[in-house]
């Protein structure tokens, strides 16, 4: 089984596209659409990396990132943040909270794939 990527995103068609390209590359992709219960999902099926959208129903990606970094078990997990808002303040906040990388929508498939490969195949 390939390295596990957890994609936390609420747009079904984006989920399908990213899942497809990463699965095709040999990664095992789990998905979750709700911000409120995202931490439960992380604890139930610990991934090797998380792709995390900022605007999620229930709780924002920033809140989830803060929780991830505060928990010793998940504090070191690589996190790639996705957002529809490319404002500097969002990028700064993501970096301050400990995101490893930040990508602004609309991104290209190769950007996502290259980053995941760089993190998990290093």
């Amino acid at each position: 089984m390939g390295k596990r990527v957890l994609l936390i995103e609420d747009e079904p068609n984006i989920i399908e596209a990213i899942s497809f390209i990463l699965s095709r590359d040999g990664f095992t992709v789990h998905t979750h659409e709700d911000g409120e219960t995202a931490m439960e999902k992380v604890r139930a099926t610990p991934p090797d990396m998380i792709i995390l959208d900022v605007m999620l129903p229930g709780r924002s990606g920033f809140d989830i990132l803060r929780d991830l970094r505060a928990d010793p078990i998940t504090a070191g997990l690589p996190v790639l943040m996705l957002t529809a808002r490319g404002q500097t303040k969002d990028r700064d906040l993501a970096e301050r909270l400990g995101a490893d990388h930040f990508m602004t929508k609309p991104f290209s498939n190769s950007e996502v794939r290259d980053h995941v490969r760089a993190v998990l195949e290093a």
Binding site: N13, A84, P106, F107, S108
Partner: protein
């Protein structure tokens, strides 16, 4: 500079000279002009230029601005503000010269500065709207999500790697669904952005109400003694949604105030009690804020002093303002924090009575009365506070020196101000 203001300037020079017991010839000699030329100036038959005006003012031991009228000072302040705003290297200390010699150009500078300020405020408003409008943010988010999905899916479909038919059909359907969603979102977004311009970037609704009130005092006074309904008057005012609602609130409050303090009786009592709000609140058994509002609508044409009124919320945002000569707080969030209305905000329920003075000539003094009150109270919710301040010009001298209040720090001439936020260009000019 208007002809009328020049006329006043010459007369003021003459009055001041006579007050000091100076002979015309002596004053003329001290500023290096002939007595006959000074005579022409004093009788308003010659234009008085900036530098000469400054020399005469120094000889008469008075500030030059004091010899000019309010309109001149206003032009000077606006020119100084224009130079600050543009971070220009303009000779601020020679603004008076320019305004005196080329009044038309000075007016043009002021007019263009006002225009730039208004446009910048509108751009800021639009920018704020882009950042904070939840409907717009949700709409843009949806558009970007659709575009992301289409880009990602199309990229898979056009890649060199072969897809099986099931996946191909699925991705085609996804693109179709996203394209439909994108079309719908784009249409609603365009509709939103093409809304009538005034609803997007027009004047603040409160300012529209203030303008309407300013031009309709007679009508409002007439409503107090007639049976005209507030709704009818608001309908005829033809203001848009938010302004219309604010006007209704304003008129409802004004009619309530009028019911408790009928105009003829109130005007008589106000004059008799030297416009003291505390005494009037006792006479009419009503609250101070209502008295402030009622006093502010007494007409100067009936011999009452021209009073100003400001109402703000707990953040200091101005909800309503009645401008009076030399009185008015900045709406741009950079008002002088020394105004008593802000002191009142810090102690809701406790009235503040404070004499203030403006830092520049003619150093107008106001007696300010302010009170902050809790307007809505809900259990376990933060209180909603509203503060009201009345400003009465030229009170009799108080025992304590008045508190200096200014326009905004950048163009305020006050020195040693503990509340100063930034340096003023005027003190260094």
């Amino acid at each position: 500079m208007s002809v009328a203001s020049e006329a006043k300037t010459g007369s003021r020079i003459r009055e001041r000279r006579i007050d000091l017991g100076l002979r015309q010839a002596d004053l003329a000699q001290s500023v290096g002009i002939s007595a006959s030329y000074l005579n022409l100036i004093e009788h308003n038959r010659r234009r008085i230029a900036g530098r000469l005006l400054g020399d005469i003012a120094r000889s008469l031991d008075v500030e030059a601005a004091l010899l000019m009228d309010g309109a001149d000072r206003e032009v000077l302040e606006q020119m100084q503000a224009a130079a600050v705003h543009a971070k220009s290297k303009a000779e601020i200390d020679r603004a008076e010269d320019l305004a005196s010699r080329f009044p038309g150009w000075a007016e043009l500078i002021c007019e263009q500065t006002r225009r730039i300020t208004n446009l910048e405020a509108k751009v800021q408003e639009l920018s704020d709207r882009m950042s904070h409008d939840p409907a717009l943010a949700a709409s843009l988010h949806s558009v970007i999500s659709s575009v992301t999905s289409i880009r990602s899916t199309a990229s898979i479909l056009t890649s060199d790697e072969k897809l099986d038919a099931d996946w191909q059909n699925r991705f085609h359907k996804n693109i179709h669904d996203d394209a439909v969603r994108l079309a719908g979102n784009s249409e609603s977004l365009i509709g939103y952005l093409e809304a009538p311009q005034e609803t997007l970037i027009g004047n603040l609704p409160a300012q529209l109400v203030e303008e309407w009130v300013e031009g309709n005092y007679e009508l409002i006074r007439g409503m107090e003694t007639s049976s005209r309904a507030v709704d009818d008057v608001v309908g005829e005012a033809e203001l848009d949604g938010a302004a219309s609602l604010l006007l209704t609130q304003y008129l409802d409050e004004a009619m309530s105030d009028a019911a408790v303090m009928p105009m003829s009786e109130f005007a008589r009592e106000a004059k008799k009690r030297d416009y003291h709000p505390g005494e009037l609140a006792e006479v009419f058994e009503t609250n101070l804020s209502a008295v402030f509002r009622r006093l502010s609508v007494l007409g100067p044409e009936s011999g009452h002093p021209p009073m100003g009124l400001t109402v703000c919320d707990a953040s200091g945002a101005i909800l309503y303002q009645k401008i009076a000569p030399e009185f008015g707080l900045s709406r741009a969030g950079n008002a002088c924090p020394q105004w008593p209305i802000f002191e009142a905000l810090g102690q809701p329920g406790r009235p503040v009575e404070r004499e203030v003075v403006l830092p520049t000539a003619p150093k107008t003094r106001f007696m300010c009365y302010a009170l902050a009150e809790q307007t809505i109270s809900v259990l376990n919710e933060p209180p909603i506070i509203k503060a009201t301040m009345l400003a009465i010009p030229n009170p009799s001298e108080g025992a304590k020196p008045p508190l200096t209040v200014g326009p905004t720090c950048r163009i305020c001439a006050a020195t040693d101000c503990a509340a100063r936020r930034e340096l003023s260009v005027l003190t260094s000019a």
